[in-house]
Structure formats: C-alpha cells, structure tokens
C-alpha cells in the first residue's frame, strides 16, 4: 500500500490522498472515492476514512479521499455554485483524476452525512459510478446545518436504547438522571418530528425517481446506517413502498450497523463499518464475488426491519 498527496480539479484546488494497492497486479481497475463527512476533512472522525482507505487498498482497490472546496485543505471556490452542485462536479473531477492517472473506468462512491448525499447524487448523474455506499444518508440537504444535532442523537439514544434499559429507569426514578438533557432531547425530538414530516413529503417523489433510475441502470446501492441514527427511519418513510420493492428485488441494500452511533465514535463501531464496506465492495468485482459471498454469509445475518429486507452487521 502506498499513499500519495495529490492536487487536482479544474483550478488545481482540490487536495486529497490516493492510497494505491501495494502490488499493481492486484489492482481491480475499480476506484473508490471517499467523500467528506459534513465539514470534517478527509481523515473523518476517529480517522475512520484512513482505516477504510487502507483496508480497501489491501483488497486491491485504488482509493482517493479528498476535500471538497472550502473543506479541509482545499481552496474555496471562486464561483457561486451551491454546494449540492459543486460537490457533484468535484466528485466528477476526482473520477476524471483517477481515470487520467490510474486508467480506472469503474467507480465506487462512499461518504457519510452530506458525503452520502453527494455519493447518491453523483451516482444518479454519472454512469461511471457502479456502486454508491451512502452512510447515514440524510433524506434532505438541511441536515448539516442542524443546530440541534447532539440533542437529536441523545433523543434517539433514549428512545432506542435507554427506554428498554432497567438501569436507565432506575436512574430516572431515583433522581440520578440528567433531567435537563432529557427535556432538551424530547423537545428536540418533537421539533424534528414536525420538520421531518414536511421534509419527507417534499423529498419523497424525487427520491423514488432516483432510486428507480439507479435500479434500472444496475448501479449497486448500499445504504449503511448506524442503529442510533435517526435518519434511518426517515429513509424508510421517504422511500416507502418503492424502496421496499427495490430492496426485495435486491437492487438496493439497506444495512444497519448495530449499536453504532452517527460518527462511529467507538473503535468497535469503526471496525464493523470497515468490515461491512469491505464485504460490499468485494462483491462489485465479478472475480471476487464468490469469495465475498462466503465472507458475507459468515459474518452477517439477514433479518426483517419494519418490512424491509435488511442485513445487520454482526460481530465477526
């Protein structure tokens, strides 16, 4: 494995790191591009993008993780292109860069938070993308400017985990709970509920159209979600029956990383995220599909979540 700092893009303003497999013969002629998780630079929280890039390079993929303009080390754009358009254009710059320097023709896009949106959008508009792996995909673009993110994650924790935990109830009734935090979380949850209903109904038709487009083009789409991420429920609601049908046809996969939080803030979360990504991308390359399916069968168990066919990453 070899890492190289690179500069590319229309005005030579995008900065990234290419991780090449150590043996050129192992190159699979498939590039993976990692897209900024929100405003965090290309290393990502917990340095998890570095781990993902190195693991993928170890499996034979060329990996590029770079910063969108204005994020990390990349320069701010000089035009007024909005982020949702500039990010797609810059992802295509990254595709062109790998094509030009590594002669790669097929691409897998992977990103968390807003990077998940960009991976999805670029997959819709660029036929060179054979697979997109959005991680904690937000149904709307408003997510990154959310001033209440932490309270919403806490609310999600209360609802999905603490609610079913005897110790939490004992704390609540013995005065040991953080009542102010509980109040803020409930208030935040109520607000989110109100705004997400509006978002879901407005985003739903476009989402359905895009999912059908990707399904018809044979693009592999894998939604990865942390179990503690509120966006999972929103995707299910926004995707509705169309998403369910595409999941049943196995054109789309929706996988939940159990007990992980939004930023994969434990080493254990990170390890299982890397395993899940490896298992998915390895099936993209036909020569490796058989081998990868064995790994998948060994590591993961299929189950139903609210009527959708999903898979859940298990401890290996």
């Amino acid at each position: 494995m070899r890492e190289q700092a690179v500069v590319f893009g229309e005005s030579n303003s995008l900065i990234g790191i290419v991780t090449d497999p150590s043996e050129p013969s192992r190159t699979l002629n498939t590039g993976v591009i990692l897209l900024n998780p929100g405003v965090v630079h290309r290393v990502a929280p917990g340095r998890v993008y570095v781990k993902i890039a190195r693991a993928l390079a170890g499996a034979g993929f060329v990996v590029l993780r770079f910063d969108f303009s204005g994020i990390g080390d990349s320069a701010v754009r000089r035009d007024n292109l909005p982020f949702e358009k500039s990010a797609v254009a810059e992802t295509q710059d990254a595709i062109e860069f790998l094509k030009g320097t590594r002669e790669i023709e097929r691409f897998i896009l992977l990103g968390g938070c807003s990077g998940a949106r960009v991976s999805f959008r670029t997959a819709c508009s660029d036929r060179r993308v054979v697979c997109a792996i959005p991680i904690n995909f937000p149904v709307s673009d408003d997510e990154d400017s959310n001033p209440d993110l932490i309270n919403q994650r806490v609310a999600q924790y209360y609802w999905k985990f603490a609610f079913f935990n005897l110790k939490s109830w004992i704390k609540l009734f013995t005065g040991k709970a953080d009542y102010s935090k509980i109040f803020k979380a409930l208030r935040s949850q109520a607000r989110r509920r109100l705004s997400s209903e509006r978002t879901i109904s407005s985003e739903s038709p476009q989402l359905a159209e895009d999912l059908n487009l990707l399904g018809s083009r044979g693009v592999r789409l894998v939604f990865l979600y942390s179990e503690n991420d509120p966006r999972l429920g929103e995707l299910r609601e926004a995707g509705g029956k169309g998403l369910k049908r595409l999941c049943e046809l196995e054109k789309i996969q929706l996988e939940v990383i159990r007990r992980a939080d939004h930023t994969f803030s434990s080493l254990d979360d990170q390890e299982r995220l890397v395993e899940a990504i490896l298992a998915h991308v390895e099936t993209i390359t036909p020569a490796r599909a058989n081998c990868a399916s064995t790994i998948r069968d060994g590591n993961r168990a299929a189950h139903q979540v609210l009527g959708l066919t999903c898979t859940e990453a298990q401890p290996g």
Partner: protein, 269 residues
C-alpha cells in the same frame, strides 16, 4: 503541485514512515525571515482543530510567513497507526518538520506554534533542542495527568448517551477516547508531562494563548518568565476549539488567530 490557495500537500520524513504535511506559501512581496511550524493536537482534538489551524497557517502566509502544518506519525494522513505513536516519536516528528521547513525556505529562524498536546510536545522538543527563537502555546497541556483525566471524563460522558459498543472487548494495553486508542505506554508517558518542571527556557520569546482562566497556564507563564523566556500571556474570550460542538461545526476563533499573527509579526518584524 501548487494549488491556487498556496497550499502544497506532500509527504516527508523517513521513507518507510512518511509524515503528511501542508506547506503554505507566503504571499508574494511580504517575505519574512522566519517560517512557522504548526504542531496540532491529538485524537479528536486534532479533528476539531484542523479548520482553525489551516486558517491560522493561511493568515500567517498572508502576513509573509511560510508555514508547515503536519500530522504526527500514526495521526491524520501520516503513515502508521495511533497506537504506534508516543511522546518521543512525536517530538522527533516536530524536529523533522522544522528541518523540512528550513529546507523548503532556506530560513534558519522558525516559530513553532502548538495547540494543546501539540503545545506541550513543542515545548519539550524546544528544551531538548536547546530552545527555539519563538514559541506560541495555545491552551497548552501543562500537566499530563490532568489532560488524561479530561480525556477519560469526555469518553465517559460520550458513553452515557450512546449505545454501549457490542464487542466491548477489553483492548489489552489500550484505552479508548472518542474513537482513538491510547496505549498504556502512552498514558504513562502523558502522566509524566509537567511543563512546570522544565528547567531550561524553551524559546527566547513565548506567547501563551488561553481560552479560559486556568491556574496551570497562569503558573506556566510565571515559570517560563523565571526561565528567562520573554513570555506574554493572552487571555481571550474564545471557545475551546478542540471540543466537539453542539451542531458538529468546526470553529475558527478569529481573536486567537489575530493574536498569534500580530505577535509573530511583531517578534519577527
């Protein structure tokens, strides 16, 4: 490889253990006779401070100071795993970064700027290397034991509001802080850090930036003055940029950046 914002990313150091750095080219016509090296904090603090320190390096470059931001071994984009790092290793990395910027610029004077643990490492490196010309310590970790306690408290607080990790495997030889491993050896090394015990002056001129009243840093200012380093303290009403924010944003405290740039410009006029 030089993008239009004047930042050049590159790898340097040992071929088998390369370090990642970003060279900030000074604005044309404002060349100064001093370069800046920025020593970042560690772990989650590195992630949270990245934006502020990139802006700091750009502001210094605008004022005519070429600069180098770099990642320690096992951190950020550099080679290695976090568990492979250690105080001695990272001090060598600071020395390597200083040599690198001298090679890039042919300048002999270097101002070293450190944040949190980066500030402590810069100070220790300075003492070991016989002192720098100037040193900026932004909310330095003065006493390693207290720093470790802070990290553990933060991890405990984080675990209160997230599902417990499935495996919960006892990482033998490690503890975990917000997704970063800290080896037991590193913890022992951190516990030994105490900048109030350094006996030599780390630099001719020192600026200490504080975002809050803290006895440790106030004591450090007094201690450094005793060591004959000309020390300036600047207590600023700015957020603790190394901590996670409520909305996930990354802060750039303008007052701190201004303070550093104007002090460095004055010292190296």
């Amino acid at each position: 490889m030089s993008p239009h914002n004047g930042i050049t990313p590159f790898y340097f150091g040992l071929p088998d253990k390369p370090l990642f750095g970003c060279y900030h080219k000074p604005r044309a016509g404002r060349d100064r006779q001093c370069a800046a090296v920025i020593c970042q904090p560690m772990g989650h603090e590195y992630i949270n401070c990245h934006r502020a320190l990139r802006h700091l390096a750009s502001r210094l470059a605008d004022a005519g100071f070429p600069g180098l931001r770099f990642d320690y071994y096992g951190c950020g984009d550099s080679a290695g795993e976090p568990a492979d790092g250690g105080i001695a290793r990272w001090m060598k990395d600071i020395s390597a970064a200083i040599s690198e910027i001298k090679t890039w610029t042919s300048l002999s004077d270097v101002c070293v700027i450190g944040v949190r643990l980066g500030a402590a490492l810069a100070t220790l490196t300075a003492v070991q290397n016989g002192g720098f010309e100037s040193l900026v310590l932004w909310d330095p970790v003065v006493e390693g034991r207290g720093y470790l306690q802070e990290l553990l408290s933060l991890q405990k607080e984080m675990l209160r509001f997230r599902p417990k990790p499935i495996r919960r495997k006892c990482l033998s030889g490690f503890i975990e802080v917000l997704g970063f491993p800290l080896s037991n050896d590193l913890c022992s090394e951190l516990e030994k850090i105490n900048l109030l015990q350094i006996s030599k002056k780390p630099a001719r001129n020192v600026l200490i930036i504080r975002s809050c009243q803290s006895g440790d840093e106030g004591a450090l200012e007094g201690h450094l003055n005793q060591s004959e380093a000309s020390t300036t303290g600047d207590l600023l009403d700015i957020p603790k940029v190394w901590l996670p924010t409520v909305d996930g944003s990354l802060l750039v405290p303008n007052k701190a950046l201004q303070s550093v740039v104007s002090w460095v410009s004055r010292i190296h006029a």
